[in-house]
């Protein structure tokens, strides 16, 4: 084990007093620390603007932290040079709220993009990928239940289907860690449940370590092992999901929310 951030031998993700202040002065993540052991599925809770997205992007190096450290799979992310970062990212799947598909490309080509980290040189068009990878892409599409749509353009799909294509793209990486940033925030309730069930099923089947941000507590219960809550960039909740009561957690948010607004009102008067 190397680096500052790795605490505990079996932690796959290790975050130590991690902070991120953007150039415009916003402090998005404020001294957050926690470890995630292998195979754990963590639900990251918080209102929009609470720092969930930033935290996720710090974990795979899309953002650089302004303080503290984050290590994944034994490598300190913030100390990686860009080539090392690319190698690391190959093992970390990332699922985005906005899916990140190119609408004009077919589903299979969007899925194949997930294998680029293992390939040399740029690719354009399905036929520029090796046959073995194309077979694998079809298998992954089958796994998310979209084999029949393989050669359709991505922009002909519904939101829930697009997110499943994005999951198939992550599966191409055969990731050990999966980061999902608000994967269901743009979806209707029915597709949300489908997509989250798919993520948690795949995570258990492939023994992935998952960090999944959500802003609906009820969706996290039953699908995650552990709940971590952020507010204004600070860690305000860290507990196992088992036995967690939705009302109780909601109340926590409500209380802090009210406390804050009372506080600001007092400050304004003073």
């Amino acid at each position: 084990m190397q680096g500052v951030g790795v605490r505990g031998g079996d932690a796959v993700i290790s975050i130590a007093s991690l902070s991120k202040r953007f150039p415009n002065g916003t402090l998005a993540v404020d001294k957050v620390s926690f470890d995630v052991p292998a195979g754990q599925v963590v639900g990251l809770l918080g209102l929009s603007g609470s720092g969930k997205s930033t935290l996720m992007r710090l974990v795979n190096g899309l953002h650089k932290p302004t303080g503290g450290h984050v290590s994944v799979l034994g490598r300190v992310v913030d100390e990686c040079r860009s080539a090392e970062l690319r190698v690391l990212r190959r093992d970390i799947g990332f699922i985005f709220q906005q899916f990140g598909l190119v609408g004009r490309m077919t589903c299979i080509e969007n899925v194949l993009v997930g294998s680029l980290g293992r390939l040399r040189g740029p690719r354009l068009g399905v036929r520029s990928y090796p046959k073995a990878l194309r077979t694998q892409a079809l298998e992954n599409l089958e796994r998310v239940g979209l084999l029949a749509q393989a050669f359709q353009r991505a922009d002909t799909l519904s939101g829930g289907q697009m997110q499943r294509v994005a999951i198939a793209r992550s599966l191409m990486q055969q990731p050990k860690v999966l980061l999902a940033d608000e994967p269901v925030a743009s979806l209707d309730p029915e597709s949300s449940v489908q997509v989250l069930d798919l993520i948690s099923r795949i995570a258990r089947e492939d023994n992935m370590t998952v960090l999944c941000s959500l802003h609906q507590v009820e969706l996290a219960i039953g699908r995650t092992d552990r709940l971590i809550g952020l507010r204004d960039g600070q860690l305000i909740l860290d507990r196992l999901t088992a036995g967690a009561d939705q009302a109780e957690i909601m109340a926590l948010y409500r209380r802090t929310g009210t406390a804050q607004s009372v506080e600001t009102r007092v400050n304004q008067l003073a």
């Binding site: 985005f96 190119v102 299979i108 993009v113 740029p122 399905v126 077979t135 079809l138 029949a148 050669f151």
Partner: protein, 560 residues
């Protein structure tokens, strides 16, 4: 703090902005009067001039197609010049655009440098570039192709960079998160999004270059322009009209074809399921066939994309242009080996171009530039005066007779196909050398060009205020004056200055065909290898263009 009604103002106070607007327009009218006098224009002369042009057309009619094979081969040469020039510009623009776009640029220095190259390449008109290259390499299509390629970078490079910058950010981030290199990211996330717009840009520029290449023959760079000017100079009016007619038909046909391809490429329209086109029996059949083909492909776990109608269309288009390109390279009258062997000769010319110098022609340069400016002012004003009523007739939301609007649009589109220098050649043949035929020819082009711009802006006028005005019982004229015109003022002002800018550039090359302005001296300086003078004139033109752009910017601010 209450104001009694009797003491309240009934007119708003005059703002500084309004005063500035008035001062500006008064100054413009004064400039127009000065320019009109400077060019010795007269209203009576105007009608006799039109009579002369009509006379010429009478003598040109009927066209003589007896030498059709020569017309055809010149036309094909023009076509190949446009195609290869555009292709060259696309090849050169792609790396420049990647360097210029903020999301793909390797660094700030590369970005600044490529932006500068893109801007500079547009500064010199293609016909001047062609004249310089003819001086360097001798006559033929090669200097023409080179001129088109270099000049087109200005537009293609900028629009390519815009297309790349417009690519959505989320696919890029998703691809980066997989661990890709920069080149992989560009190819897999950005390029697929930018391609439709890049193809549309290339086709659009091809249309423009077709009109451009038709005139390059005037300075010896081959094609149908050479044929037309030779025929007119030797008073062979009927064959000249035949050549103009062929050019006109070809330009129109290609414009229609290219517009429909561009329309089918942009956005979602390329996909049958997504396109908003009207449903038809044929389209339904195609959609059914596509889904059948798709099903079969996934059932058999095919590893290559199936032949859906979209893919067939795309591949056949690519094949068509590929074949066209190869044929063009093989049949155009250029020995590529020699051409690229001698390309270093440009550097000799470039060395002779600096430092800029008047070479004792200072007063000629200044009076030429002044005359060009006067031509631009008069022709833009006259053209706009014709364009405005045309635009009202063309706008489908204003002209209640839809067929009249459609007819006017087709009419204007057709006229727009004729390059302004060809019109100038014809007017000069009818009225003799001088600034007046040049100005009138340019006015015609401003009128059709401006009519399209104005009509498009009129059609973008928001319908809500119009409805409100109609609902109080206003007549059609009242409605037009109080709800359409207020919305149209601001786009009109910016179009007006855009036209002045574009047609000042045009007025600087009118002299090539004897239409007045700085063009004559410019062409002479190239012909007698006084390249330092050429640079000086180009600099002068550039300064005036900058001044016009600055004025336009100020005025747009006044009308914002």
């Amino acid at each position: 703090m209450s104001t009694t009604l009797s003491s309240a103002r009934t007119a708003p106070p005059i703002s500084g902005r309004q005063i500035a607007q008035w001062v500006f327009w008064l100054a413009f009218v004064a400039t127009f009067v000065w320019a009109w006098r400077r060019l010795d224009m007269s209203v009576f002369g105007f009608f006799s001039d039109l009579g002369n042009v009509a006379n010429l057309f009478k003598r040109m009619y009927p066209p003589d197609f007896s030498d059709l094979s020569r017309i055809t081969s010149s036309m094909v040469e023009t076509l190949w010049m446009a195609l290869l020039g555009t292709a060259g510009a696309v090849v050169l623009s792609y790396p420049l655009a990647l360097a210029a776009a903020h999301n793909t640029t390797p660094g700030r220095v590369a970005r600044g440098a490529s932006r500068a190259i893109i801007t500079l390449s547009r500064a010199v008109p293609e016909i001047i570039l062609a004249a310089i290259f003819v001086a360097a390499f001798g006559p033929g299509p090669f200097p023409g192709i080179l001129a088109l390629a270099l000049h087109s970078i200005g537009m293609i490079g900028r629009l390519f960079a815009d297309a790349i910058e417009n690519a959505a950010e989320s696919p890029r981030e998703a691809v980066v998160s997989v661990g890709t290199t920069k080149r992989q990211t560009i190819r897999s996330a950005i390029l697929p999004q930018a391609i439709p717009s890049m193809i549309a840009t290339s086709l659009f520029r091809f249309e423009i270059n077709l009109r451009g290449s038709a005139i390059l023959g005037l300075v010896g760079a081959g094609g149908i322009g050479q044929l037309i000017s030779e025929a007119l100079e030797t008073i062979q009016y009927k064959p000249a009209l035949a050549a103009v007619a062929v050019l006109f038909v070809v330009i129109l046909a290609i414009e229609v074809a290219s517009t429909s391809v561009r329309r089918s490429l942009i956005g979602e329209a390329a996909n049958l399921q997504l396109s908003a086109q009207r449903r038809s029996w044929f389209r339904d059949r195609l959609i059914k066939r596509d889904s059948r083909v798709n099903e079969a492909a996934t059932r058999e776990r095919q590893l290559t994309p199936p032949w859906t109608s979209e893919r067939i269309f795309r591949v056949s288009m690519a094949a068509f242009f590929g074949v066209l390109f190869v044929v063009a390279i093989l049949t155009v009258n250029v020995s590529w080996f020699d051409a690229f062997g001698n390309i270093g000769d440009i550097s000799i010319v470039l060395k002779q171009m600096v430092p800029p110098s008047f070479r004792g022609e200072r007063s000629m340069v200044i009076s030429g530039l002044v005359e060009s400016f006067a031509i631009a002012v008069v022709s833009t004003t006259l053209g706009v005066l014709v364009a405005l009523p045309l635009a009202v007739l063309m706008a489908r939301n204003i002209n209640i007779r839809k067929w009249v609007a459609t007819f006017m649009r087709i009419f204007v589109l057709a006229l727009r196909g004729i390059p302004e220098l060809i019109i100038a050649v014809i007017f000069v043949s009818a009225m003799g050398l001088g600034a007046v035929p040049g100005t009138l020819a340019l006015s015609v082009t401003v009128a059709v060009f401006g009519a399209k711009l104005f009509a498009d802006s009129l059609e973008e006028v928001s319908p809500a205020p119009r409805e409100a005005v109609v609902s109080v019982g206003a007549s059609r004229i009242q409605e037009f004056v109080s709800s359409v015109i207020p919305q149209f003022v601001s786009p009109f002002v910016s179009h007006f200055f855009y036209l002045l800018d574009v047609f000042f550039r045009s007025s600087t090359v009118l002299g090539i065909v004897g239409g007045g302005g700085i063009g004559f001296l410019l062409l002479q300086s190239i012909r007698v290898f006084e390249f330092k003078l050429t640079t000086m004139i180009i600099l002068g033109v550039f300064l005036i263009v900058l001044a016009i752009e600055w004025l336009g910017l100020m005025l747009r601010r006044l009308y914002r």
